[in-house]
């Protein structure tokens, strides 16, 4: 979480902070990262074979990657002071569309394109409600959260849609340079977003729109379009993750794909120290947050802590993260 993307390269000016709140400031910026380091250290000592490529890449990171990618899209929407509850349902729709396309005998590349296009269309729907009709984001995206799952189930006919297609399965099971595809996608998406936020005009207008919409509009920013793009990106990334998930199991389960992912994604953004009030984004922090929360759960469960207790501990960690954010204001 080295950047908050509000300022450019660090200069003496940016580091000149009142010393009084340095501890909370540190905790807010690096709290999740510090916890991650702590968890890694703990596991390195107490978990057998933890520090192996196998465990780190194929278990921990691969499990965290889907939520992390969704969380990156969520971070974009949160940067414009929105929220996207529909990501889980969009995952299910995209996965179902992808599965049906290859089952129909079409090439996997087309399946991916089609699935992403449908997901993006869901983003257009969300964005239109928010931008054009001024519906509150939580309500606007609740619509697809509910109806989207229904659409996916309708497409599936209520059955598990199994398929056998090496191309599509590659997204879930393949490797590039030894790195599992989900992890690879997470790295690529994070890198692209990091670049976009830091160096592009869109990144600037995104933060300006979320930071002060009225001011941004008066400065000539097309705030509506900026917001729309954030929702489309969030939905498209959710669609991508939907394909990854069905690629892993070689089956689309419209009832369960992406179930509850929206909350995990919001939690990952929140523990990264990003306020839900908009105007800020932390790409690296979001990934760290998602990986940390997954590792926390895995560690607790590996230690024999019952799942219920693990959930409670996760909740406590999020509360602590939010508390630190408030203190740092």
């Amino acid at each position: 979480m080295t950047e908050t993307a509000t300022a450019g390269p660090t200069s003496p000016a940016a580091t000149r902070r009142p010393t009084g709140r340095s501890w909370t400031g540190f905790a807010r910026q690096y709290g999740a990262a510090a916890l991650l380091v702590l968890l890694l250290a703990y596991n390195a000592v107490f978990t057998r074979n933890f520090l192996s490529w196998q465990t780190l890449m194929d278990v921990q990171l691969r499990q965290a990657a889907p939520v992390a990618i969704v969380a990156l899209g969520m971070a974009l929407v949160i940067a414009v002071a929105g929220i996207d509850l529909s990501v889980g349902s969009v995952m299910a729709i995209a996965g179902q569309v992808g599965a049906l396309t290859v089952l129909g005998g079409l090439p996997p590349a087309l399946a991916v394109l089609l699935a992403l296009a449908v997901a993006a269309a869901c983003g257009v729907f969300n964005g239109t409600l928010v931008v054009r009709y001024g519906v509150q984001p939580i309500i606007a995206t609740l619509i697809l959260f509910i109806a989207g799952r229904g659409i996916a189930q309708l497409l599936s006919g209520g059955k598990l849609t199994g398929f056998r297609n090496p191309g599509l399965q590659f997204l879930g099971l393949g490797r590039i340079a030894g790195v599992p595809m989900p992890v690879m996608l997470m790295i690529v998406v994070a890198a692209v977003l990091w670049f976009v936020v830091r160096y592009t005009g869109y990144g600037r207008t995104l933060l300006a729109t979320g930071g002060n919409t009225a001011a941004a509009r008066l400065a000539g920013v097309r705030t509506g379009r900026v917001t729309m793009v954030a929702y489309i990106a969030s939905a498209a990334l959710a669609g991508l993750v939907g394909l990854v998930v069905i690629g892993i199991t070689a089956a689309s389960d419209a009832n369960n794909v992406g179930l509850g992912v929206e909350l995990d994604a919001i939690a990952a953004v929140a523990v990264s120290g990003t306020p839900l009030t908009g105007g800020r984004i932390s790409v690296v922090g979001t990934v760290v947050g998602a990986v940390m929360l997954r590792l926390l759960q895995n560690t607790l469960i590996a230690q024999g802590v019952p799942r219920e207790i693990a959930q409670i501990v996760t909740g406590v960690v999020i509360v602590v993260a939010l508390f630190l954010q408030r203190r740092a204001r």
């Binding site: 200069s11 000016a13 940016a14 592009t200 005009g201 207008t205 001011a215 000539g220 920013v221 097309r222």
Partner: protein, 521 residues
């Protein structure tokens, strides 16, 4: 009004973080009296109202209400004791019914349940007493602001309010609705209710008020029957101008030089009820034109309409002689117009972004190369304008919210200047900033105009308009009522236009024995 006042306060002091907002303020109002309370932004009206109604605690002073010393601890406390407040923004529950809004908190119950029939009947009755006849079971939000305000008044009266404070109730009402409200005020007065009425529309004050209290810089500067204070004196007292004026006048001689310059921006008869009722202004190249007027006269609204920030329902805008219609600020910016809002916090700065990003926000589209910000050029421009405007900061990466008000304002000016505009609209650019920065900004505006930039300057400070402007357009109730040029720009002529709606007297002619010359406070 010989009788004992219902409310009397004196010696009222209130400071915020050491900055005095009220200093030894006094005001009184009797039963059956309508008192006008007026003052510029920051004069202390809102603070006084909030101190009286228990929103803030006063630092010093006595308040007597109905003969007893009181010290309300909350608005509810004040309301229970018969002092109700009706705010400009109606603060009721929008999605509950009209009846609920009137009776909420003390609804009649039967067998422990709310007796809706009785509640609705009571609400209907109370509204009928105000001559409002609506379906009280519909949600409040479905009705126009005027009806919502009547609902607020009915609610206030349902608490047997002896005193009703109305804080700019008319600012968002249409003309006909205002007339209804004034009728209601008269009716309440006749029933013995005391009213404190805050408005910036002089016509309304003179139509309905018996007495007037004028605040300026947190002090009571006038307290008299309204019939004894002419409009002219009212405005000059409010703005703090003595009648011994007329020395102050346009000091520079740029006016003649720009008279022949081409018109770059023109607004003709802009309308959008109720705020704009035919405002017109012409801006020539290299000219500084002032927009003068009281609060609510349509100055900012005119500026925003010119910039495409707000729509108009009627009227024309011409840019370099061509008719234009900006659908958004972005289109205005492309036509090389800049606009700096009066609300620096709400509509100016992006608090979490660095000074660098704040400066280049409007320029951003031109800094992009295939979507990527050209950092080198950005840095070069940022450095140049930080130097040019002498912005005091630790470095361009500093967050803008950490700068002082004056430096924030300079950053916002830089935001527009770096776009190389031909027209710059500045809405109260020097409000709330320190004297040094203010002088710098004023000098800068002059220099820019000498270099050919056209500036439309909105200011509540007459002195600023006189020293800075080649011409001044005076607005009143959303319409242009006077245009003053060169020598004719004086405090007297501007005050006159604001008060009377005409520019009858140029400053050279003696104004004769008009009524206002005989009165003083």
């Amino acid at each position: 009004m010989a009788q004992e006042p219902l409310l009397r306060c004196s010696g009222m002091d209130k400071s915020f973080a050491g900055v005095p907002a009220l200093r030894d303020v006094h005001m009184s109002v009797a039963a059956g009296e309508v008192r006008a309370l007026i003052g510029q932004n920051g004069a202390g009206k809102s603070t006084l109202i909030k101190v009286l109604t228990g929103v803030y605690r006063r630092d010093a002073g006595q308040v007597e209400f109905a003969g007893n010393p009181v010290d309300f601890t909350s608005t509810q406390d004040a309301q229970r004791n018969g002092l109700a407040t009706i705010y400009q923004e109606v603060n009721l529950v929008p999605y509950r019914s009209v009846a609920e809004n009137i009776c909420i908190g003390r609804a009649r119950r039967r067998f422990g349940l709310i007796d809706w029939k009785a509640v609705n009947a009571e609400a209907r009755e109370r509204l009928a007493a105000l001559d409002v006849h609506v379906d009280v079971t519909r949600p409040l939000v479905e009705y126009p602001i005027a009806t919502q305000q009547m609902t607020a008044i009915a609610r206030a009266l349902s608490f047997d309010a002896k005193l009703v404070i109305m804080d700019e109730p008319t600012s968002s009402l249409a003309e006909r609705e205002v007339a209804t409200l004034l009728d209601v005020i008269r009716r309440l007065r006749d029933e013995g209710v005391a009213i404190v009425f805050v408005s910036h529309r002089l016509d309304e004050l003179y139509a309905v008020c018996d007495t007037i209290t004028v605040l300026r810089d947190g002090r009571t500067v006038a307290d008299s029957p309204i019939s004894e204070l002419s409009r002219y004196d009212l405005v000059s007292t409010m703005l703090g101008r003595e009648l011994t004026e007329s020395e102050r006048r346009g000091q520079h001689v740029g006016a003649t030089a720009t008279a022949a310059a081409p018109t770059v921006l023109e607004a003709r008869d802009l309308r959008r009820a109720p705020v704009l009722n035919g405002s017109s202004v012409t801006l020539r190249r290299g000219e500084v034109v002032g927009l003068a007027g009281l609060l609510g006269s349509g100055r900012s609204e005119t500026a925003r309409a010119l910039f495409g920030a707000d729509p108009v329902t009627d009227g024309e805008i011409h840019r370099d002689g061509e008719p234009v219609r900006f659908a958004s600020p972005q289109e205005a910016i492309r036509a090389r117009i800049g606009f700096n809002s009066e609300d620096r916090k709400g509509e100016g700065i992006i608090p979490d972004l660095s000074v660098r990003e704040n400066i280049t926000l409007a320029l951003l589209p031109r800094l992009l190369r295939r979507g990527i910000v050209d950092r080198g050029r950005q840095q070069e421009i940022v450095d140049r304008f930080i130097r040019r405007l002498d912005i005091k900061l630790a470095g361009p990466d500093q967050k803008i919210s950490e700068l002082s008000g004056g430096n924030q304002q300079k950053v916002l000016l830089a935001r527009w200047l770096c776009t190389d505009p031909e027209v710059l609209i500045l809405d109260e650019p020097t409000r709330g900033i320190d004297v040094g920065a203010k002088q710098e900004i004023q000098n800068l505006v002059r220099e820019l105009a000498d270099d050919g930039l056209s500036v439309l300057l909105i200011s509540s400070e007459l002195e600023e308009l006189i020293t800075d402007c080649d011409r001044v357009v005076v607005l009143r109730d959303g319409a242009t009522v006077a245009e003053l040029e060169g020598e004719d720009i004086s405090e007297k002529s501007m005050l006159h236009a604001m008060a009377e709606g005409t520019a009858a007297t140029g400053s050279r002619q003696p104004s004769g024995s008009r009524e206002e010359d005989e009165v003083h406070d």
